[in-house]
Symmetry: C2
Subunit: 307 residues, 2 copies
């Protein structure tokens, strides 16, 4: 019986690549799976897919009636998953995030580690199960680790990510540092995006102590590319926060070369969001020096501040 | 910083043994952990601990202020865990149950597989990480697999459980079939227990589609040992259901040698519980031929029936 494998909505490179890689691994092990994605690949992911001659997975919004059961990668929270997730059986999860708003009726396979990237865990699974990683999939998993760890500079980076990245680069036959800068730059073209596209592209929803919080992240090589559009972005954030009942909408703007961020903040809880980083709002923005990780730095700080 | 490792409330053999084994493994890997338990060991577990010369872990009800962070084995649902679980950081979970009523603020290590016993997963972890299993711990983990799978006869049993059991029996130097029958029999002495002890000993609470459901399991070698006390047990179940607001209280009585069960049922949802097995209540009881697994057979059937 066919199963879909997919990452979170607004897929980043790891969400799409981990689905491709895990689907491949599971098919080698006798499952019948297909990698799909819950949104179009962004420019960084397209760069990686093109470089490694791989087609983007089919985009779906609902999994039924195509399949009855699914495997999740790079996420578990239902509000980040396929629209009809509650009607599906989840047989496998491979992830590197906190666990929340997730439940099943039956036992399942669940592998999570607090590492920088799902593809790192998948690399270990390939090795442990002695399944050879095809060159193209190795290149893609390498791209996912570069993306999630900002070339091993994010505080989410672990020794396991470094080992996996180097092993994959070897299989792919690529200088990962040179390739990585090119790939990260390919993902930072914000001029071509509308305001709405910018605040939606990499946004995820979280329930933080009962608050409905939306957090987007935009990678740049120059903050000014985004901050010069701040007033227009705020207008879009306000519109979306009202229609979706967000208590807080945060747009992290991350300088991928220097590993700093700023955040643009909208919502009833905006002051609490600034206080989470011992700062005050300055023209709707907060400087976040040294902060690049939504998962490891921003979500925990906001969770505490919204208690 | 010290961490506690523990299994679920009303610990069975796997809950206590998996804590001992995982604590040992983690300490070998550089963590500073102590195995504890959330209740006294029952007679089956005491038999195994005595046989393999191991002390029962200290019993706790709260983990603070002794520790700030914990590792869970053989459970994840907060209502089955330590009383102050929501104030603790959970860094690791090793389990073989469904995931429900569980959440964390931060990424963590989570290893679950749909196998018969947590100790099976732990056996694989010892082997993968090349940590030698001490003879006594091998004997205890073997006991846990025998207990959870009723000597490999429960439908929860997988090939992985069989392989692990045989590997452990070899290390322990024990004929697992002979030992297993002695151990299972040691756990079936119900005559020495009060009515209240019987309905509490191996009971777990579940939120099944919004219903507060209590499911106890009593192992026997003769149904009559329990069913002759049915009216007294029902009186205790009624008392407890009222004080704890259970919508349904089920006591599974399982013949461990013949792999059949009966259930005694109390509560507003008693008829739905019988219907879950295409049966009617007969004198507050339902025959469950071939059914021995709370997790794999009873919980899913009740979940469906209570929709």
């Amino acid at each position: 019986m066919k199963q879909y494998v997919f990452g979170h909505q607004n897929p980043d490179t790891d969400a799409i690549v981990a689905a491709i890689a895990f689907s491949y691994l599971q098919n080698q092990r006798g499952y019948d799976t297909q990698a799909v994605s819950l949104g179009e690949a962004g420019p960084e992911t397209v760069f990686a897919l093109n470089y490694f001659h791989t087609d983007a997975p089919k985009v779906i919004t609902n999994a039924k009636p195509d399949v009855d059961s699914v495997m999740l990668v790079d996420h578990n929270e239902f509000q980040q998953s396929v629209a009809d997730i509650e009607e599906l059986e989840i047989t496998h999860v491979v992830d590197h995030h906190r666990i929340a708003n997730f439940n099943t009726n039956s036992p399942l396979y669940y592998m999570a580690k607090p590492v920088g990237c799902t593809s790192t865990i998948l690399t270990q699974m390939f090795i442990r199960e002695e399944v050879k990683i095809p060159k193209e999939i190795a290149g893609l998993m390498m791209s996912a680790i570069i993306s999630d760890t900002l070339l091993l500079k994010s505080p989410t980076t672990t020794e396991e990510d470094k080992l996996a990245l180097k092993a994959l680069a070897e299989i792919a036959g690529v200088n990962y540092e040179e390739y990585g800068i090119e790939m990260l730059k390919a993902g930072t073209n914000v001029d071509s995006k509308s305001d709405k596209e910018l605040i939606d592209a990499d946004a995820k929803s979280f329930d933080l102590n009962g608050n409905n919080v939306r957090i987007d992240q935009i990678n740049v090589v120059d903050f000014n590319d985004v901050t010069k559009r701040k007033d227009d972005l705020m207008a879009e954030m306000q519109k979306e926060a009202q229609s979706e009942n967000y208590d807080l909408f945060v747009v992290m703007v991350t300088d991928v070369l220097n590993s700093n961020s700023k955040m643009i903040v909208y919502g009833d809880k905006a002051n609490e969001a600034a206080a989470a980083f011992n700062a005050n709002l300055d023209n709707d923005m907060v400087d976040l020096p040294g902060i690049v990780s939504r998962k490891k730095q921003v979500v925990p700080a906001l969770t505490d501040a919204l208690k």
